[in-house]
Amino acid sequence: MTMASTLRPTGRDRTPDSHAFPTRPYDLVKEFTLALVAMLVLTIALAAVFSSPDEKPISLVGWAAAAPNDVVATATGELAGTTTSAGYGAPYNDAGPGQTLGPLALQRWAGVTIPVDPAQDLVLAPLRRSADPTTAAALDTWAAAPPEQRTAWSTAYSDALTAAPDGDPAGVAPGDYGPVPVIASSFLALARTGGLEGALDPSGTFYGGDATRGLLLLADGAYLEDQARARSLGGDQWGMMNETGNYPGQPWMWLYTFWYQVPPFATSENADAQVWGLMMLLTLGLVLVPFIPGVRSIPRWVPVHRLIWRDWYRRH
């Protein structure tokens, strides 16, 4: 058998065996060691020069101090069922249908696996720990009222807060709000004392670690988003891939974030599901590039390989 016949490829894939080509000396271990040293030195240099961002998390005490009116409005919204959490749906509750991807209701189908009743879990249960008799009486009044009455009180108070200058409870017009103003102000007082920290952990034990309820409550308010937008982290500011300060964040998520900036996703009620569906499709496409006609031929059409293997092509 001649060398030519040995090396000529056969079949559909005409790529020769790489082991049949002429070779030259190569030190793999040396190359890796040098690469490791280079990356280590570069990493240390970048860390020393640029450091890393570490803004303190927003505490509930800090939220109450910086935006007390937002705390009151959020607590009232939880009672009225008008916050994002209150109407979210799976995996937290059944209050909303969740997003759909065409005919696929994946969110609803996955079920309620992290049950959260916003009014009860985020506002009323923490307040039950209060020894204040006025608060206890307000909670009893709330508990004894029929659901329609509760909704009427809390919705009326929520509307009144919205109408008040700066949402200040002190500027709310007189009305029939039932125990809601007392509950909301007690909630603010509890947050100010730090009593709300830890009270939202579902485990109810010394060891916490699950911030689900606290983050849902924070996200229901306006303060967290205001702080994020001030740092250019909003959803329409490519926020998912950015981080605080002048740091690169997660630039590898640019394509995922990109879809949120353009129609129809930017205005769709099912944007999250649609973007996820699209990204799953594109990811599958990336993995299956070798099998996709046309896409797998792009390297042949775009002569970048001529640059990469210029020495080889110059000789052949």
């Binding site: 000529r8 993995v287 299956l288 293997w309």
Partner: protein, 224 residues
């Protein structure tokens, strides 16, 4: 009954034949800076894991209260940035080389899955920072994950769960895929230039011909 040990040894030798795992020669056409980014990706991954291990020694909140901890966190962050930068260049380089040719589709696929898995691993790292960034990122990300049902078991608002995924499950998965990727690279060798056809010994390099490999290895490397 045949020996399991001999069977495993034979299997390993056929998967990556002797001389292919740590070769001291390479095809003459491997002559471009683009090849450096594969090994740079691997080297930066080692730095990522190393700095992450040092962070783990100090604990979850160590880096918030210690200058040394903050510096180690910075090295972890920047090694991740370098890892992705080199990996993306490596990926694009392999795309334009059509590096899936010659029965290398699985090599490409494991590389792509490693890339996607690395994104997930880095993402859980951002969620585990216990600072303002992780608060905001978690709040934003939950809607995407919940919308397709993933949030039902992967709760980005639970930093405890995210940290465990970040330091155990995902690195394990990515690590296994990366090892598989490297094994496949060593098994099949570096893809030849597009349309390359050899009629005889090449010039411009030591005309030694094929790398000497065992007969069994030749079967594998030519049939994929």
């Amino acid at each position: 009954m045949s020996s399991w040990t001999v069977g495993l040894r034979t299997r390993l030798a056929r998967t990556v034949p002797p001389g292919e795992l740590l070769p001291d020669r390479q095809p003459a056409y491997v002559s471009s800076w683009i090849y450096v980014f594969g090994v740079l990706s691997l080297a930066s991954l080692v730095v990522v894991i190393g700095t992450g291990c040092v962070l783990a020694i100090g604990g979850v909140t160590w880096w918030h209260t210690s200058g040394l901890g903050h510096f180690v966190n910075s090295t972890h962050l920047w090694s991740v940035e370098l890892f992705f930068a080199t990996m993306v260049i490596h990926l694009w380089g392999k795309f334009f080389m059509a590096a899936w040719r010659g029965k290398r589709a699985l090599t490409w696929m494991t590389g792509a899955v490693a890339f996607v898995g690395s994104i997930g691993t880095a993402f859980t790292g951002y969620l585990s920072q216990t600072n303002f960034d992780s608060q905001w990122i978690a709040g934003e990300a939950k809607d995407g994950l919940n919308s397709v049902g993933i949030g039902a078991f992967f709760n980005v608002l639970d930093p405890g769960q995210m940290l465990l995924w970040h330091v155990t499950l995902l690195p394990l998965v990515v690590g296994v895929i990366v090892v598989a990727h490297i094994v496949l690279v060593r098994r099949h060798g570096v893809v030849p230039p597009i349309d390359a056809v050899l009629d005889g010994p090449d010039d411009g390099a030591t005309p030694t011909g094929p790398i000497p490999v065992a007969p069994a290895a030749r079967d594998l490397t030519t049939t994929g």
